[in-house]
């Protein structure tokens, strides 16, 4: 089963979280990326996410496998949206359960950092001015 999901519509996060519940899990860390109203000082009205889905799925799954090998976690799941998202919508959700919190935090951070660097997804920002623009690269 693939734990990395590309979704064209909003996903029920509480259902994804339940999959991570294990009797031996004592810590759960999650991260969400939300569409912000400003980027680099420009007013944003929304973001259109363009993705190469087949490659995003294999690369995302590889990241989750790496996290499982590097950190003592029970399970990790991630989902990334495609399509047009308004301000406040969840573009990415990552959940990690582990026996102890160190591994849960470290693995969650690893997964979001790697997703941002490696998974073929691109943001087309829609500005309040009516213009649009591809974000050239990550500034953080």
């Amino acid at each position: 089963m693939n734990d990395f999901i590309m979704a064209e519509t909003p996903v029920d996060i509480s259902a994804l979280r339940k999959v991570l519940l294990f009797p031996e899990a004592g810590g759960f860390c999650s991260f969400e990326g939300w569409v912000r109203q400003t980027n680099e000082g420009r007013a944003v009205s929304g973001i259109d996410y363009n993705a190469f889905v087949p490659l995003a799925l294999t690369e995302g799954q590889a990241i989750l496998q790496e996290a499982k090998q590097r950190f003592a976690i029970c399970r990790a799941t991630a989902i990334h949206r495609t399509g047009y998202l308004s301000i406040g919508e969840t573009a990415v959700w990552i959940g990690v359960s582990a026996a102890h919190r160190d591994a849960a935090f470290d693995a969650c951070r690893y997964i979001i950092d790697e997703i941002k660097q490696r998974v073929p997804i691109w943001k087309n920002e829609h500005y309040a001015s009516g213009e649009t623009g591809w974000v050239p690269c990550h500034t953080l």
Binding site: G33, Y49, N50, A51, F52, P54, L55, A56, T58, E59, H80, A91, V92, I112, I115, K116, Q117, R118, V119, P120, I121, W122, K123, N124, W134, V135, P136, C137, H138
Partner: protein, 80 residues
């Protein structure tokens, strides 16, 4: 000449004016194919800033192309 399936993303899609195309090309590698497409569409991105995917898997730029390969050039990613 090889028949290659091309898929374009992000700014490459805007510059090419299309998301897909089937192209006949003499280019032996993805690197040579990208040079050919820069001449055709005026792509701004330097290949050094990109990766290439052949048949939906990352591949070296100098990997020989085969008949029917699906090729996508991967601009710097900005998801998350």
């Amino acid at each position: 000449m090889l028949n290659i399936e091309l898929q374009y993303f992000a700014q490459l899609q805007d510059e090419a004016g299309r998301a897909h195309e089937r192209r006949q090309t003499p280019a032996p590698t993805a690197a040579a194919l990208y040079d050919e497409l820069r001449d055709a569409y005026g792509f701004v991105l330097e290949p050094a800033r990109m990766r290439v995917a052949i048949n939906s898997a990352f591949a070296p730029w100098d990997q020989p192309l085969c008949e029917g390969d699906h090729v996508a050039f991967i601009p710097p990613v900005t998801g998350g």
